[in-house]
């Protein structure tokens, strides 16, 4: 319970001494001298403190963590993860960060995240152009898509769900364009894509952003997950030195 000051009526006493008059004040002083528990948060109403009431170096905002790998600790997309399927296949988890596991996020709070992906494409040096070497024909599309997902476990026990918080394709697709199918009949390849016949090309991309949680029901974060899906059968894709971290900004 909060400390309650009780003013003392001087008329209640037959003889007033200096010590008696000052007692309530000395009690108050004792209760406010900064010693632990003399004034604690029970004296404060909820929402009473603004940020400027905090001293420096007070971290407000929940957990902050990172998940790192070394350059050698790369992940290889294989099998169905890199198929040319037109239907969804299971994406592969590149990197999970469980540092925020169990952290609750509520409406209006913000997940701030950042990631660092190192991306290497291996694979054959031939056949990567795909088919369609004549005029009007289409080449096989090859694209590599890295999506970033937040995995949430609702506290009400309903089905887990995913929320995309960023990411996208990491390029060097041999996308069919109006000139991409221009062919040898007119003197050779009409265009050159991003990195058509290069082995071991590297890309690094940083990822950052802020996601405002908008669902009415608070959710408990299971982890932050980087996932990838590759739409090609012609090459192997490696992710190395993939990192992801995040924090929940509450107020």
């Amino acid at each position: 319970m909060a400390n309650v000051l009780k003013p003392k009526s001087m008329l209640d006493q037959e003889t007033i001494t200096h010590a008696d008059v000052n007692k309530i004040f000395t009690d108050l002083e004792d209760n406010t001298d900064g010693t632990t528990s003399k004034i604690d948060t029970t004296n404060l109403r909820t929402g009473a403190i603004d940020r400027e009431h905090l001293s420096d170096n007070v971290f407000i905002g929940g957990s902050n963590s990172a998940s790192n790998t070394t350059e050698a600790d790369y992940f290889t997309l294989t099998g169905a993860d890199r198929t040319n399927a037109s239907a969804p296949v299971a994406a592969t988890t590149l990197r999970s960060n469980t540092g925020l596991s169990g952290t609750t996020i509520s409406k209006g709070e913000v997940l701030r995240y950042c990631g660092d992906t190192m991306f290497r494409r291996g694979g054959p040096t031939s056949g990567m152009w795909g088919t369609g070497l004549t005029d009007g024909a289409s080449r096989v599309k090859q694209y590599v898509y890295l999506s970033i997902w937040l995995y949430l476990s609702p506290t009400d026990g309903s089905t887990d769900y995913w929320l995309q918080i960023g990411g996208g394709d990491f390029g060097f697709s041999l996308t069919n364009g109006p000139y991409s199918n221009y062919a040898a009949a007119n003197g050779g390849s009409a265009w050159i894509g991003g990195y058509p016949n290069v082995q071991n090309c590297f890309l690094r991309q940083s990822i950052s952003g802020a996601h405002i949680f908008s669902a009415a029901t608070p959710a408990t974060i299971d982890k932050i997950v980087l996932k990838a899906h590759v739409d090609t059968t012609l090459q192997t894709v490696y992710f190395a030195s993939t990192k992801v971290s995040g924090m929940v900004q509450r107020n």
Binding site: V21, S55, V110, L146, D169, G177
Partner: protein, 265 residues
């Protein structure tokens, strides 16, 4: 203004002197009259629950056409704004932009917006924020401080450069002109972050962080692009109908997200 406790004097009887009592009173209560300082709080005692909760809001302007699909959250020292079309629900790996596509099973989802050289594309910068109703445009009243944000946009430019036909008999070609895209973030029409020209074909997601000082003022943030297409190259390349070819140079917009933090204290 600090809270002031009402002062009352003891009755003016000959028991004690008023000024002596007030002196003690002032010494003790003084700290409550606006002088309560941090050392009177035990350390680690102020939890998140004691701090004013964020206020979530919708209706943030998300396109120059007046669409209000953006969201915001207002905190004690900072506000966040976000626009984008996010996916949620049961996870499927290719459901990457389900709200965009209407075809969540497609490996390559349909683009949100397609520009062509002959339709909707300027010679200089072209605003994406005016072409889609969310994801590339934010307008709000900022407070003096800093704007820090990130633009994430997924675009596809089909080709890098075309070769040119220099001989039909025998057929021979030479390298043509370089094509590329450039994507930038503008705050109140000032370019604050950009990719420079990306002379690569294909589909890329660019992640553009930016940070700018801002006053207490209306702010407009939008994502724009520029294509350095060489439109005249077809004069020496008879492989195709030039008019058709130009109109088919497409610049596709897929995912687009814009998040901004206004730190004002």
């Amino acid at each position: 203004m600090a809270r002031i406790y009402t002062q009352s004097k003891p009755k003016a009887v000959d028991i004690s002197k008023a000024e002596g009592i007030n002196k003690e009173t002032n010494g003790v209560f003084g700290c409550f009259n606006g002088a309560l300082s941090g050392h009177q709080f035990p350390i680690n005692s102020i939890t998140n629950a004691k701090i004013k909760a964020p206020v979530y809001g919708t209706g943030v302007i998300s396109s120059s056409d007046g669409s209000t699909n953006g969201i915001k959250t207002e905190m004690a020292t900072q506000n966040y704004y976000f626009t984008g079309k996010e996916g949620s629900g049961t996870f499927a790996p290719d459901q990457t932009q389900a709200p965009f596509t209407g075809n969540p099973t497609a490996v390559v989802p349909a683009p949100t917006k397609v520009f062509s050289l002959t339709s909707g594309m300027n010679a200089g910068w072209t605003s994406i924020g005016g072409a889609i109703d969310a994801g590339a445009y934010l307008a709000f009243d900022a407070k003096e401080g800093m704007l820090k944000g990130t633009a994430v946009i997924d675009t596809d430019l089909p080709l890098q450069f075309c070769s040119v036909l220099i001989s039909t008999t025998p057929a021979a070609r030479a390298d043509g002109d370089n094509w590329g895209r450039r994507i930038g973030v503008f705050v109140n029409d000032v370019l604050v972050a950009d990719t420079d020209f990306m002379t690569c074909s294909g589909r890329y997601t660019t992640n553009l962080p930016f940070a700018v000082p801002v006053g207490s003022q209306p702010v407009t943030i939008d994502i724009r692009f520029m294509i350095n297409a060489k439109e005249n190259f077809d004069a020496v390349t008879p492989w195709d109908s030039a008019a058709t070819a130009r109109s088919n140079i497409l610049f596709r917009i897929f995912t687009s997200q814009l998040s901004v933090r206004n730190q004002f204290r």
